[in-house]
């Protein structure tokens, strides 16, 4: 079990594969003697513990069983007679055990990466943070978030900023974390950055959020508060429990108040980059 501090959250994590974390995860590592608040442990075995609790959620091959001590997400095989994955989460999320069947074979690194990511995002919500499906960059010490469904061009737009400007880094290319603070909001990198290992262990003040749509004709609009809310809800990691939804809503309400958000319809040309730049920095003659 190694200790890490990710988005200001201290956790111990025991995992098996580096195929997706690469060496980037060690940027987040902290000393073993530091007390941590959460633990995520991955076990590779096909001897699964007994299932207890009430079946509360049924979705295709997935079942969730809830008891006084916590919940178990169980993923069955397509035939339904074999357990492939069991994620046991304690009531306060302090201890999460992810057990994966060796049957996953070559996919084990990917499944481990996804499962540990989902576990961490649940913890992040529990800590008042918001994981958002986006590519986040830092430019001149400020963070800009490009959010959109998969395959819309988030990473492409992030790379345009790197191409046409100096002092641009990718904070996280898939699921950056937003945290509200006294002066506004900040964006953190995490070791979970989708297929690319593009993430850094940094905390950068958030300047703006851009919701992207593919279009031939470049145009944009400010988002009103209600529009900000629906766009955010569509692109953030959403828990299933009512209390967690309420904690998420509290954070989103502050985000809506503090941060300008835009809906931008563009292609991926230089003029698209220019338009977005001047939307966010109207005063700058760049």
């Amino acid at each position: 079990m190694k200790n890490f501090e990710i988005a200001h959250i201290k956790l111990g994590m025991e995992y098996h594969f580096d195929d997706f974390f690469h060496d980037k995860i060690f940027e987040y590592q902290i000393a073993d003697n530091i007390n941590v608040d959460y633990q995520i442990k991955v076990i590779i075995s096909d001897i699964f513990p007994a299932i207890n609790g009430d079946e509360t959620i049924v979705f295709r091959t997935r079942r969730i069983y809830e008891s006084a001590s916590g919940s178990k997400l169980v993923v069955y095989s397509e035939t339904g007679n074999q357990i492939k994955q069991m994620i046991s989460t304690s009531v306060n999320l302090r201890k999460i055990t992810i057990q994966l069947s060796p049957e996953y074979g070559k996919r084990l690194p990917e499944i481990e990466y996804l499962a540990t990511g989902m576990a961490f995002f649940g913890i992040a919500i529990n800590e008042g943070c918001v994981p958002i499906h986006a590519s986040a960059i830092s430019y001149n010490g400020q963070a800009i978030i490009f959010s959109a469904p998969s395959q819309t061009g988030k990473s492409t737009h992030a790379s345009l900023w790197k191409k046409y400007l100096d002092d641009v880094d990718i904070i996280n290319d898939d699921k950056p974390i937003i945290r509200i603070n006294d002066s506004g909001a900040v964006v953190y990198g995490t070791p979970w950055s989708g297929k690319t290992a593009q993430n850094v262990n940094r905390c950068v003040p958030l300047k703006a959020i851009v919701f992207l749509h593919q279009a031939v004709q470049n145009h944009w609009n400010y988002l009103s508060k209600p529009q900000k809310l629906t766009h955010l809800f569509r692109n953030v990691y959403r828990p299933r429990q009512e209390d967690a939804i309420d904690s998420l809503i509290t954070v989103l309400e502050q985000l809506i108040d503090k941060i300008p958000m835009y809906e931008i319809h563009t292609d991926i040309s230089k003029s698209a980059f220019d338009m977005i730049y001047h939307v966010i920095y109207p005063e700058d003659e760049q």
């Binding site: 509360t56 959620i57 049924v58 979705f59 997935r62 508060k225 209600p226 900000k228 809310l229 629906t230 809800f233 569509r234 959403r238 828990p239 299933r240 429990q241 009512e242 939804i245 309420d246 809503i249 989103l252 309400e253 809506i256 108040d257």
Partner: protein, 90 residues
């Protein structure tokens, strides 16, 4: 008819939204935004109502003609049916 379990109504930044929780969060990945009359109808459907009752409630609160209220109710019910949020044969 009434609203299925697994949906919570919240008002955020002045906007009324319906968010799925639990099993419903797996089946419905969006959120619903409601205007004031939608919020009124939603709250009535939490307890359970019918088209006539909903129409009467809209007429009383918003002082509109029956045909207007009736069509608003039908539109709202259709929206809930689309997302499979209603229980209709209770």
């Amino acid at each position: 008819m009434k609203i299925k379990e697994g949906y919570v109504l919240r008002t955020v930044a002045g906007e009324h939204i319906v968010v799925p929780i639990g099993n419903e969060a797996v089946n419905f990945n969006g959120i619903l935004t409601l205007n004031n009359s939608g919020k009124l109808l939603w709250e009535a459907l939490i307890a359970g109502s019918d088209i006539k009752g909903l129409t009467t409630k809209l007429m009383e609160i918003f002082v509109v003609e029956e045909t207007v209220a009736y069509h608003d109710v039908l539109a709202f019910i259709s929206k809930l049916r689309t997302h499979n949020i209603l229980i209709e044969n209770d």
